[in-house]
């Protein structure tokens, strides 16, 4: 004889199956978060849900997604409850009601939870390590959460915890792979430069070296006239002067080769390029709990660019945005049509809501690092072509690059590509 499962509980169990299937194909933590919250809201029939993830280092929670709760309120709620909820989640996980939150700001946390219509919090753990917290609202029908529903909720969060870890590792792996590819590419370019350099040196130095060597050998012989000695010394001196000129030319050559802009221009759908870039870059950026958005897919005007060089410029701009914005920040990649100085352009923008750039640093942003301190080195600690080289690349493609910023609000880098 079979036992029928009450319809509501069957719905909960099927929700868990649905969630599991979806999470295995999610690529970044924001996608996991959205899938989880939609599923939990539909499981319970609630209009409020939020997910916070902890950052490494500071441990402060980052609001990843929320629905039905004002974002400012959700951020405050996360900060108010985090410490206590993380402490609880170190023990075998269970849902916590707002009234059970016991921290220094207990009453504040409970008030905020009431404002947000939160019914309970539940930890997101991986290998018993707390990674995040989910808040779920009261059911729209105001019915209490049943024991089965709470069990399914815990299982859902266990599955989600694994997906978060997987998405995080996937993002880290993609970022590492990207950096390795760039490093390899730059090493290949350096290797090529080195070979050219050695060939050049070998060819150009041999003649004057031979003259200097021959002159000195003759000078060491006995019984040569003063006149002959003067001539040999003069020849040796000329040879050394020639070598000095060569060295100076080689230094100039190495500088120009290091900025060698051999462009492979071709007609390119920039929207397609940015779409692919966004898809491949987003998981890596998300692994640092920053979200990379993309708008402008409908802007379809092919322009002449070097796609590989343009991608290097995008890498530089997005790397800067990541470096100068905190966890939880948003980075927006945009593409629009633009008119400037009577000409038509495509405008690529990389906008962040991070720390911003000090006003007095803005004018020097695209200058070679060499001009700031007299050295030839790139910005310390980073791979990449640098903003100065990014400017050279874009201008070599007939475009323009600029930046605006407000301290404490964020920055916007704009690249203009000529349409005609």
């Amino acid at each position: 004889m079979g036992h029928s499962v009450p319809a509501r509980e069957r719905h909960s169990l099927l929700s868990l199956v649905e969630l599991s299937r979806k999470l295995w194909s999610s690529h970044d933590v924001y996608e996991v978060a959205e899938s989880l919250l939609l599923n939990l809201m539909g499981q319970a029939g609630t209009a409020q849900a939020a997910l916070w993830l902890g950052t490494t280092g500071s441990g402060e929670p980052v609001l990843i997604r929320c629905h039905g709760i004002d974002r400012v309120l959700a951020r405050s709620l996360g900060h108010a409850c985090w410490a206590d909820l993380v402490e609880r989640s170190r023990r075998p996980g269970e849902a916590v009601e707002p009234g059970d939150i016991r921290i220094g700001m207990g009453q504040t946390a409970e008030r905020l939870a009431r404002e947000a219509n939160v019914a309970l919090f539940a930890p997101l753990c991986v290998d018993d390590v707390p990674r995040g917290v989910v808040a779920i609202g009261k059911k729209l029908g105001n019915a209490p959460y049943t024991e089965v529903e709470l069990e399914v909720l815990q299982s859902s969060l266990a599955v989600a915890g694994l997906a978060v870890r997987s998405a995080h590792l996937n993002g880290l792996a993609l970022e590492t792979s990207r950096k390795l590819r760039r490093a390899n590419h730059e090493l290949q370019e350096l290797d090529h430069m080195k070979s050219e350099f050695i060939d050049h040196v070998n060819h150009e130095l041999r003649t004057p070296l031979t003259v200097v060597q021959g002159s000195i050998e003759c000078l060491t012989r006995e019984n040569i006239s003063l006149e002959r000695k003067d001539a040999l010394l003069a020849a040796a001196h000329d040879g050394i002067e020639q070598m000095m000129r060569l060295v100076r030319r080689l230094v100039t050559l190495s500088e120009s080769v290091s900025h060698d802009l051999r462009l492979a221009m071709r007609l390119t759908d920039v929207a397609d390029l940015l779409d692919l870039y966004h898809r491949t870059r987003r998981p890596g950026v998300a692994s640092g709990l920053r979200e990379l958005h993309w708008e402008g897919q409908e802007c379809r005007r092919p322009v002449e660019v070097d796609p590989e060089r343009l991608t290097q410029v995008l890498d530089e701009l997005v790397d800067n945005a990541v470096k100068f914005s905190p966890s939880g920040a948003n980075i927006r990649l945009g593409l629009t049509e633009w008119v400037e100085d009577g000409a038509e352009w495509l405008r690529i923008s990389v906008e962040d809501d991070g720390f911003g750039i000090p006003r007095d640093s803005l004018p020097q942003l695209f200058q070679s690092f060499r001009q700031l301190d007299g050295s030839l080195t790139r910005n310390a600690g980073g791979l990449g072509i640098g903003l100065a080289a990014a400017k050279q690349v874009i201008e070599a493609m007939g475009g323009r690059i600029s930046a605006t910023s407000e301290e404490g609000r964020g920055s916007t880098f704009s690249v203009l590509l000529a349409v005609d």
């Binding site: 649905e18 969630l19 809201m41 539909g42 729209l140």
Partner: protein, 118 residues
């Protein structure tokens, strides 16, 4: 496994500034993002939305979540959304979760448009 093709969201025309979309297929974790994306396009145009669910053959929890999120998103932007022509599959789940009183639902598209204009 790509399940995003298991839903279609068809253009049902316009009634003034009210767009009508016809959803057909499964509405679950795999297809909810497709529906949300299509509805976001309508919202970006500053239009209100009537979403027909007559063609929905299966409604999963994530589909319910998507419906709730749509209500939230349109309300946030001072827009309106109503669900019309609920299929049997949709009605069953909505009733199970007691969501009827909390979702803007109408029997027909015409009723939904009239409710929006009143």
């Amino acid at each position: 496994m790509d399940t995003t093709t298991e839903i279609e969201v068809l253009d049902g025309g316009h009634r003034g500034r009210i767009a009508v979309l016809l959803a057909q297929g499964r509405l679950d974790a795999g297809t909810a993002p497709v529906l949300l994306g299509r509805c976001a396009e309508v919202q970006a145009q500053g239009e209100d939305l009537v979403l027909s669910l007559k063609g929905i053959t299966f409604l999963g929890s994530s589909g319910v979540g998507a419906m709730l999120v749509l209500v939230e998103q349109f309300q946030e932007q001072a827009g309106k959304i109503r669900f019309a022509e609920l299929s049997e599959a949709v009605r069953t789940v909505v009733d199970l979760l007691d969501l009827g009183p909390h979702l803007p639902v109408d029997a027909t598209i015409d009723d939904a448009v009239a409710a929006m204009r009143s």
